[in-house]
Symmetry: C3
Subunit: 269 residues, 3 copies
Amino acid sequence: MKDDLVEKLMDEVMRKMGSTEAPAAPAAEKPAAKAAPKACNLTEFVGTAIGHTVGLVIANVDPLLHEKMNIDRKYRSIGIVGARTGAGPHIFAADEAVKATNSEVVLIELPRDTEGGGGHGSLILFGAEDVSDARRAVEVTLSELNRTFGDVYGTPAGHLEFQYTARASHALHKAFGAPLGQAFGITVGAPAAIGVLMADTAAKAATVVPVGYASPGNGGTSHSNEVIFMFTGDSGAVRQAIIAAREVGKQVLSTLDGAEIVSSTKPYI
Amino acid sequence: MKDDLVEKLMDEVMRKMGSTEAPAAPAAEKPAAKAAPKACNLTEFVGTAIGHTVGLVIANVDPLLHEKMNIDRKYRSIGIVGARTGAGPHIFAADEAVKATNSEVVLIELPRDTEGGGGHGSLILFGAEDVSDARRAVEVTLSELNRTFGDVYGTPAGHLEFQYTARASHALHKAFGAPLGQAFGITVGAPAAIGVLMADTAAKAATVVPVGYASPGNGGTSHSNEVIFMFTGDSGAVRQAIIAAREVGKQVLSTLDGAEIVSSTKPYI
Amino acid sequence: MKDDLVEKLMDEVMRKMGSTEAPAAPAAEKPAAKAAPKACNLTEFVGTAIGHTVGLVIANVDPLLHEKMNIDRKYRSIGIVGARTGAGPHIFAADEAVKATNSEVVLIELPRDTEGGGGHGSLILFGAEDVSDARRAVEVTLSELNRTFGDVYGTPAGHLEFQYTARASHALHKAFGAPLGQAFGITVGAPAAIGVLMADTAAKAATVVPVGYASPGNGGTSHSNEVIFMFTGDSGAVRQAIIAAREVGKQVLSTLDGAEIVSSTKPYI
């Protein structure tokens, strides 16, 4: 009976507190904590994914609205991916989408979010001349997220994130300046101090070439509590740099809170 | 007994976790969850309202401070409205206040807040030559908030907001560029992806004229996870556009979390 | 038995909700609420402190990374202090560190954080030619934090912060423009409306000279929901201004939530 009561209470509490989940433990992992999402019959609806992510598509954006949207007017159809939690996972997923579909990434913006955590959410718009291409880009992005959340690790004190691709495409070029066709990786640590140390660890662990460095006040964050290090190099070196940084990051994050540091889904690097 | 215990625990938990309430369920709605606010005898204190909103007045701002405050020096008296949760509700409420009183809105700033949610808080300063006018502007703003929170809807996954006025005045002109004396409305969706779709829905549902479009990285948000669409038109068209967007927004927000989507107070549009 | 159950539940709840603690009640105060942080054997690790603060040191920053970091290249060794919660406490603590060590503050950045609260976290980098100096600067900063959190007060509705030094040094000069060698103080209130009133109270309570005024959209915040007032004057006047503002701030903050307003550690002003 006592355990029933505990569970009932936890459910109730998590329900009321739902919007404050930690970045690396998004809603999808806590089925008991939230009401079941509802189905949606709108033709514009594509799907949802981890991180309070939603995918949508608009076949013909209203022309007067289009003028206000700060995107190239040649695309009539847009695909939309937005999330409360996660920027790196979504940008790397979008990169796979532009490789796989006849679409372009026309906008990447990073709200300061993660629902009380230290990082970003995201808003990514794909442009296409045909609505089926825009929809397909959104579908690919959503389907990649389970993988790209694999090296996102969170505790109550902060989070770590690592991403890797053997061949960067246009989304990574637009968001981070990644050289097209090259291996590319990022390390992200919050609080930002951990990100500084991980950047140095990555830079020293293998022969990589720094592409960018973003901190709370510079280089592209939206005042998130993160340092993001972006680098290229040969494929083995980029992975080696990430693995070394990940090892160090986990050790330091553990000193702030003893919660076990686990992947949001399943590590892929 | 068991229910007593549940309630006692919930009170205690909500107490400790108080600062993380979702945007559309501000403190005023959860009397059991918080300690009773205390009275205040300061002459500068005007009152409080939903959204952790406080209203204050200063009869004569210190002249040396005034120089640093980035506001027009001709006003000796200022009224102050600030909130942890809510920007649209406060700006539309302030618009009623400038219509009803002998005051001007001299500053509107939007912190990135909502206590872990995806939106803004607000800081609004009214200027007046007489302290009673400044106080009256704050009083009117506070009294309007219960109405202007009526079309704010939140769940653990995000929020929707809609505002409408038949006749925009100086606060809406200053904050959003609304044409004076015209009908004016906004749709707001978080995560921002939902706001994009609602903007398109609103633009297509009636003959409205886009006035502005704000997203996490452009157009006036403070990196909130929102897209805000602002439009004018005839009064019926503005309302019709809002109602259509609201219907779509609710359906999409429901796909992220099954929590019932309810008004923070009572819908007015 | 009932109390045991309550405690067990609270522990479990606080555990899951750990990342949403209010700014003035950082992790260090709630030992039962979190798993025990782990030890760290990395040579770069210096220590942790209140506010989810971590201190690190890098003896020789990787040269290619250094070029991207936006800091003066003459420093080979850097000390790093980062926190999820707290900017003022860390900057005033860093000011003691630069007085006490052979190091300089080369970067101060303020993420928008406090884990769902209305304020900032921080990232502070010390530069030194020798790693032992960088390490010492970090150690001094960490050791000062218990004191500098003394006049940080939080409730579920917002927070107040006050800092004072009899003699400002280079960290305060860099962060706030404080005149070197002079007495210097700040008042901080969230929601920002409270900060406006405290600024006026401080300015009128004693003969102080305003140095700066920061609000959600101007003067140096990262869109936090705070107004920060910075001032100099003779030592007694600066303290008197702070004490008057603190008294007023506590009264107003109490009107939003009845939670008792207590120091994060122990008041020092």
